[in-house]
């Protein structure tokens, strides 16, 4: 391997790649390191990782990166093209597009993280319980999953938001309610593959109940597949959220949300096309980043899916 000589700490590397790790911690680190080496060989995956890191960076340091307050209106400066003062121009209220974009990364990240925090545990729990317990539990849980699956996702989210009322948190809930079935299916499939494994039988003979086995032994093993699926899903979540924002059902003004920014810019599309074009590019780049990252992760964590 060409990169080996350049690595700074051969001692650390040797520790990471030890044939017989002396602790669980060392084994876990070694596994992560080996995964990382496979992942780093995939240039597209690295591009995706870079985009996602950039998003995280923007969200974390928005006040430092932004050049203006994204909610500050200045009607003397409305619909400006790109300039030294307004790098990406201004919208029809004279708000700085670049700064709104930077702050919008927080909204995007907020939506993605919250949707995952709500839907991934539900999916994991439903999937592992259905797969592990089997029988009627499995049949009923999977039928419910199928029902949610057989709905067009955006339409279901629309109906939820219509009922709950527009707003960022309601949009998050609506998207989460449509996101969990995918994770349930993945985690059920994984559970079915390991439920008859010897180590499960061993744990059971030691007196562990269903709940303990599912939470401590089954769920951790189905997690990698769910993570891959979730990463691939994030682009979909971002696009759905942007669609809701575009329709005026997501984050409410003056929160800078990329979908809503397109909707504002659309009204001046003929003469000031960049007002709508720029936030769309941002959505595109971030979705692309998550898609590339997801593809890369899938190759590392779940080679059989490719």
């Amino acid at each position: 391997m060409s990169g080996e000589a350049a690595l700074p700490a051969p001692g650390l590397r040797a520790w990471l790649l030890a044939e017989a790790p002396t602790s669980g911690w060392q084994a876990a680190c070694g596994r992560a390191y080996r995964g990382w080496r496979v992942f780093a060989r995939n240039p597209l995956g690295m591009v995706g990782l870079a985009i996602v890191l950039l998003l995280l960076f923007c969200a974390a340091f928005a006040p430092l990166i932004a050049t203006a307050d994204p909610t500050l209106q200045d009607l003397t400066q409305r619909l400006q093209p790109s300039s030294a003062q307004h790098w990406l121009g201004t919208d029809r209220m004279g708000r700085d597009t670049y700064s709104a974009l930077v702050y919008g990364s927080r909204v995007t990240l907020y939506i993605v993280v919250l949707v995952l925090v709500i839907s991934a545990p539900i999916g994991l729990l439903v999937g592992s319980a259905a797969g592990f317990i089997g029988g009627w539990t499995d049949r009923i849980l999977m039928r419910i999953t199928d029902i949610f699956f057989s709905f067009p996702r955006l339409v279901l989210a629309l109906a939820f938001v219509a009922s709950l009322g527009p707003g960022l948190n309601n949009a998050v809930i609506a998207i989460a309610l449509t996101a969990w079935p995918a994770y349930a299916r993945v985690s059920r499939a994984e559970t079915l593959a390991i439920r008859k494994a010897d180590f499960i039988a061993a744990v059971r003979t030691q007196g562990a109940g269903n709940r303990r086995i599912i939470f401590r032994h089954v769920m951790p093993l189905t997690l990698p597949s769910v993570i891959v699926r979730a990463t691939l899903d994030m682009a979909g979540i971002i696009l759905t959220a942007a669609g809701l924002g575009f329709l005026g059902l997501g984050a409410q003004p003056p929160t800078p949300e990329w979908g809503a920014m397109i909707s504002v810019g659309r009204e001046n599309i003929l003469d000031q096309w960049w007002v709508a074009a720029v936030p769309g590019m941002a959505i595109f780049v971030v979705s692309l980043g998550f898609n590339l990252l997801g593809d890369g992760l899938r190759d590392v964590l779940d080679p059989k899916m490719t």
Partner: protein, 364 residues
Amino acid sequence: MSKSATASASVADPSPATESGASSFHRTRRLLLDVGGVGLSLAATFFGLLVITFVIGRLMPADPVLAAVGDRASVATYNQVKAAMGLDLPIWQQFLRYAGNVLQGDLGMSILTSHPVLQDLARVFPATVELATVAIIIGVVLGIPLGVWAAVYRNSLLDHVMRVLGLVGYSVPIFWLGIMGLLVFYLELQWVGGPGRIDVYFEGEVPTVTGLVLVDSLLAGDWDLFYNALSHIILPASLLGYYSLAYVSRMTRSLMLEQLNQEYLVTARVKGVSERRIVWRHAFGNIQVALITVVALAFASILEGSVLTETVFAWPGIGRYITTALLSADMNAVLGGTIVVGTVYVGINLISDILYRIVDPRAR
């Protein structure tokens, strides 16, 4: 759905080796059992659809009775209206009432149009069907050959271009692409018609027969209208078609790759079968059945994509009906639209399931 159906297929036929005389009877019986199983799962899904829309309707924080009577009504009036709306009944009775109404085609009245929701939906549905059909034709006619070529010439330039096109398709917001498409092809280049189905001065020129403007104008022999309608539909349909192209070509590619690695193709090659015949007759012939499901899924996702596309292109279909109703909190219209789209979605899955069973010799 297909998983449970496959399971029922194996249950229905414990002995694959039936006598030839009885085999046609068994085949029919099994097909009927399969269709029955599929029908049962369809019923369960539809029941779930009703439960979900019912729950969504009850989630509303606003009091529907108060909205109907106004806040100056007396308690007696309030209670009377509440009883009339059936809201004083236990929740399960309310659900039965709701399910009964929906099954009878009563989706309530739209506040916005003051027509029955079902009537509204029947009026806007053809526009969506027209858009989705043109889109799926574009997606399938281009997507399948491109997917096959990408598999045959794996890692060629075409394969890479297709992969990039697919990635872009999975990452770009459709409404944004629609706006940009309108800007470039309508406002700047004026190659295509703008928002709407036809130009205003064509409105009402030909009688509505099918509700599909492209078909109706042809039936009436009105070529001007036909070209006008075509110029309006081509951009939104291409957009939706692009998304299904991305999906269809990717699935075709991976199905083809699976086939191209099989040994029977080596045998065919050794026998001197031409490469063209190997690809199109042998390999492609074997993925056709699986492609039915792929195309059905693509069609269903076009329905979903049409919601935002119709909003951007002012296309008077079901998607725009739902979003317009949303913005005026017209819950009956939203839920009615959701039920219809959901039913169509489930229906498409059902049709593909049945077609699959009829076409695939292994499933017979």
